[in-house]
C-alpha cells in the first residue's frame, strides 16, 4: 500500500472542438471523429471521440497525480466509445508498490457508475509526485 488513492479527476464535458483539437494535435484524421455526415452514414449517432483522446485524458490524470515523466508503463483497454457531451472521471487505485520506488496502479476513465470507457494499468515512479502540480487538468 502506498497511502491513500489520489482524488478522482473530473474532466469538463467533451466538445466537438476538443475532438477537432485532438485530431490536429495527434494527426489522427479518421473522419469518424470530426465529420458528422460521415459518422452518421457509418451508423453512428454522432461523431465519436478518438480512443486515444480518452487514453490521453487518462494519461494526463496520471501525470497530474504522479508528476510529469512519472510513467514507466501505461496500458489501456478500450471498453466503450466516447461522445461529445460526455463528462469523464479518472480514478486510481494502488495495486502494489515495489521496493525500487515505483507502484502499479489500476486506472479507470468512466462516464458514470459502472460505465467505464477506458480501463488502464500503469507503472509509475513515485519520486516525481513532489514535482506534480496542484493544478487540475479538467479546467480550461
Amino acid at each position: 500500500m502506498n497511502g491513500p488513492a489520489p482524488e478522482p479527476i473530473v474532466f469538463a464535458p467533451l466538445t466537438r472542438t476538443d475532438l477537432v483539437r485532438y485530431a490536429g494535435a495527434s494527426g489522427d484524421f479518421n473522419p469518424l471523429h470530426h465529420d458528422h455526415a460521415f459518422a452518421t452514414a457509418a451508423g453512428l449517432h454522432d461523431v465519436m471521440g478518438h480512443g486515444m483522446l480518452s487514453a490521453g485524458l487518462l494519461g494526463s490524470a496520471v501525470t497530474t497525480w504522479f508528476g510529469a515523466g512519472s510513467v514507466k508503463n501505461f496500458t489501456v483497454r478500450f471498453r466503450s466509445p466516447v461522445w461529445p457531451g460526455d463528462r469523464l472521471t479518472a480514478t486510481c487505485r494502488f495495486r502494489e508498490g515495489d521496493a525500487d520506488g515505483t507502484a502499479e496502479v489500476d486506472l479507470l476513465l468512466s462516464r458514470g457508475p459502472d460505465d467505464v470507457v477506458v480501463a488502464g494499468v500503469a507503472t509509475v515512479r513515485l519520486d516525481r509526485a513532489l514535482a506534480a502540480r496542484e493544478q487540475k487538468v479538467g479546467e480550461k
Binding site: 483539437r21 494527426g27 501525470t63 510529469a68 514507466k72 508503463n73
Partner: protein
C-alpha cells in the same frame, strides 16, 4: 531495414507540437515554460504510419475495426529537441472465434522509438486492432 520491419522513419520532437498535444489531452504540462511530452505523445510520431497501416499494410475495413488495446513502455524519457528513429513491425496477425461465435481478426503492431544519435531505445508502443466479421 531488418526483416519484419514495415517502415522506418525519423521524427523531431518539437516544442510546439508537444504543447499542442499536451493541451489537447489536458495535460497540466501544456502551460509550462518547457512542456513535457505526455505519456501517449508517441502517437504523434506514429500517426501517419498508423494511417498507412490500416489502409495499406493490413487492409482492414475501418467500419468494422476497433482499437482494442494500446500500451506504452518507457525505457528513457522523450525530450524536446530529440530526433527519434521510429521502427514499426507487425507482431502478430491472427483470426480468433469470439464468445458469440463470430470470427475476429486481431492484429498486434509495435513501434519502437530510439534516440537517433545514440541508438538508445526510449519507448515501445504496442497497438491491438480488432476487425470484426462482416455481417452476412
Amino acid at each position: 531495414m531488418s526483416g519484419d520491419t514495415l517502415e522506418e522513419w525519423d521524427f523531431l520532437v518539437e516544442e510546439g507540437k508537444v504543447r499542442e498535444f499536451a493541451r489537447a489531452v489536458r495535460d497540466p504540462s501544456w502551460q509550462d515554460s518547457v512542456p513535457v511530452p505526455p505519456p501517449t505523445f508517441p502517437v504523434v510520431a506514429s500517426a501517419a504510419f498508423v494511417e498507412r497501416l490500416v489502409t495499406q499494410y493490413l487492409d482492414l475495413d475501418r467500419s468494422r475495426t476497433v482499437h482494442g488495446e494500446e500500451r506504452f513502455e518507457y525505457f528513457g524519457p522523450i525530450r524536446i529537441g530529440q530526433v527519434l528513429r521510429c521502427r514499426a513491425r507487425k507482431v502478430s496477425d491472427e483470426v480468433k472465434t469470439g464468445k458469440r461465435g463470430g470470427r475476429m481478426r486481431i492484429v498486434t503492431t509495435e513501434v519502437e522509438f530510439a534516440e537517433r544519435d545514440t541508438g538508445e531505445l526510449l519507448c515501445r508502443e504496442t497497438m491491438v486492432s480488432i476487425e470484426k466479421e462482416a455481417a452476412s
